[in-house]
């Protein structure tokens, strides 16, 4: 089974995010980390490959930087990575991103594509579905559990009131939530091996994708601030402040 998994390197969420004052795109430092939500996708991909004689290829778009994020996913056990790094893709919208990812996935070949539900930094939450449409395959979305047998993928799909059981034959794309599996931590051996695993770096032109962007940021405003909140250190009596706040809100 050939498994392709979409991953993204993002600025460390613990750091302060900055917007470029010129074009309002997110400033991406040289050192980026693997988006935490992608660790779940990588784990699903590895489990599928381990159980069904498969290979796992990471597919990513964005500035390579020092490749720290991609190496994290390789250290977990992925076999190789394909990274599309092209200045013309700076500020790419979701559809352009999906066109790039789909073209790279098609170039590698696939039975199963795994993606996170949404990235932590951009969170448009539509790229997996766009990729599926471009690849002409079903999208089993918001998977909280996944299994595979005899050419059929079955998932539990999160809904507003619970979950549905959904299934489809491969080739298929599955988008996963972060509850789907417990991601493994890279071993020392894995970290050492990751350094010599192949990372193909491509441009948009290599894939025949036009990097045009269909949207433009026209304004960035500071959100109207909430009424200045109060922060109280608990001295054993802080619960009384909560009672008072509930009274003021007229809910008790």
């Amino acid at each position: 089974m050939k498994v392709a998994v979409c991953v993204k390197q993002i600025p460390d969420p613990a750091s302060d995010y900055q917007l470029d004052p010129e074009d309002h795109t997110l400033v991406r430092p040289n050192e980026q980390v693997l988006d935490d939500t992608d660790r779940y996708g990588v784990e699903v991909a590895l489990q599928m490959a381990e159980r069904h004689e498969g290979t796992v290829t990471l597919i990513s778009m964005g500035p390579s930087g020092n490749l720290q994020g991609v190496r994290q996913a390789l250290a977990m056990g992925a076999d190789k990575a394909v990274l599309v790094d092209d200045p013309s893709l700076k500020g790419a919208d979701s559809l352009t991103t999906a066109r790039v990812l789909a073209a790279a996935i098609e170039r590698e070949g696939f039975d199963l594509v795994i993606a996170g539900t949404e990235s932590t930094d951009g969170y448009s939450g539509v790229v997996p579905q766009q990729v599926a449409e471009l690849l002409s395959v079903p999208a089993l979305t918001y998977a909280i559990a996944i299994e595979y047998a005899d050419g059929t993928v079955r998932i539990k799909r999160q809904t507003a009131t619970g979950y549905d059981e959904v299934e489809s034959e491969t080739p298929v794309l599955v988008s996963v939530t972060s509850g789907v599996v417990e991601p493994r931590y890279p071993t020392f051996k894995g970290i050492m091996q990751a350094k010599s695993k192949p990372v193909d770096t491509l441009t948009a032109a290599d894939l025949g994708v036009d990097g045009s962007v269909g949207q433009q940021v026209t304004a960035v405003d500071v959100s109207p601030a909430r009424a200045a909140g109060e922060k109280v250190e608990d001295d054993g009596e802080a619960y009384l402040r909560i009672i008072t706040a509930l009274e003021e809100a007229k809910v008790i």
Binding site: P13, Y17, L19, D93, S94, L95, A98, T120, S124, G125, V126, V127, Q129, Q130, A132, E133, S136, V137, P138, A139, L140, Y142, R154, R157, T159, A160, T161, G162, D164, E165, V166, E169, P171, V172, S178, G179, S212, V213, G214, Q215, Q216, V217, T218, A219, V220, V222, S223, R226, G229, E230, K231, V232, E233, D234, Y239, I242, A245, A249, V251, I252
Partner: protein, 315 residues
């Protein structure tokens, strides 16, 4: 003229669809693309909220259907070239919008909290957990698709009549449309609905262990509110997915939101930061939740919550 995508849930148009339709009235005469079985009552509700016309698509029985629905809407868009398609941001709408944009080449703006048609289609969304508002204009080809977050606009009836209904045949989507639904599981919920509750008491990883969610339930019960949860503890299996508040989950705007052991990840904040009063209890005084809290208690949730519960029981 604006088009509005609305799904059916349990025989009625979804609430977020009616919210977006109410907004669409201020942008022109809305045409609704309605996806569901359809009924006189459902169509009357659409008319009452301002639908001037309804294009009715019945999804395929027993199938996931999002690919067929997207293919069908793509044909409608090709035939009518609407200025914009607005979609209330449900799980299904995200699936349809993604596929539709790939099919038509139209740009998707997601997580919109406001939308305008002045000088082209533009939408406002929140970044950095709501600290900044970004306005984005569509410059690309095709009909722009705007996914609107729940509770961005009130659902207000305008008293319109039942609009003309046009039944649209379903397009074929080949292998992409082959996903089947073989079972549906609805989690049982007691008390008020999370999205509609006036009071929400929510728990996060800071509770430490699954059993501690019992305190959250007890407090919600005493206040007549609903319980909510962060993605972290839902993913850990402590509470059902239907309780999740945040980006992937429910958006709530209660009178009072009590965050217990919640650090305040961006993912969570977008789902609750517009609550009228936010009370947060967290050990870490640097936790981002305190930036949106009206009252922040820096303390141990295991000490403070039992005290609040005891005090309320004594009233």
């Amino acid at each position: 003229m604006p088009w509005v995508y609305i799904e059916e849930s349990q025989g009625a148009p979804v609430t977020v669809g009616l919210e977006v339709l109410s907004k669409a009235r201020s942008l022109g005469e809305p045409t609704v693309v309605y996806v569901g079985e359809g009924s006189d009552a459902a169509f009357a509700t659409l008319g009452a909220h301002g639908a001037a016309k309804v294009l009715h698509i019945t999804p395929p029985a027993g199938m996931l259907g999002t690919a067929q629905v997207a293919a069908t809407i793509a044909e409608l868009i090709a035939a009518h070239s609407p200025g914009v398609l607005l979609l209330g941001m449900t799980y299904g709408a995200r699936d349809v919008a993604g596929r539709l944009s790939a099919r038509t080449g139209g740009t998707v703006l997601a997580n919109a909290i406001d939308v305008s048609l002045d000088g082209g289609v533009s939408a406002v969304n929140e970044v950095f957990g709501g600290a900044k508002l970004v306005t984005t204009r569509v410059t690309g080809p095709g009909t722009p698709l705007v996914l609107v977050r729940p509770k961005s606009f009130p659902a207000e009836p305008s008293g319109g009549d039942v609009p003309p209904i046009e039944s649209v045949p379903l397009a074929d989507a080949g292998h992409a449309g082959s996903a089947r639904v073989t079972g549906t599981h609805t989690e049982k919920a007691a008390g008020p609905k999370l999205e509609d509750a006036a009071i929400v008491v929510a728990g996060g990883r800071g509770l430490g262990k699954e059993e501690a969610f019992g305190m959250v339930e007890e407090l919600a019960d005493l206040l007549g509110g609903a319980t909510g949860a962060t993605r972290a503890i839902v993913d850990s299996g402590w509470v059902p997915y239907a309780k999740q508040v945040g980006q992937t989950g429910k958006t709530v705007k209660p009178d009072v939101y009590i965050a217990c052991g919640i650090s305040g990840a961006m993912q969570h904040l977008v789902g609750m930061k517009d609550s009228s009063t936010i009370i947060a209890i967290n050990k870490d005084e640097e936790a981002p939740i305190f930036a949106v809290a009206d009252l922040g208690i820096v303390g141990d949730v295991h000490k403070v919550l039992p005290q609040v519960i005891e005090a309320l029981k004594g009233r």
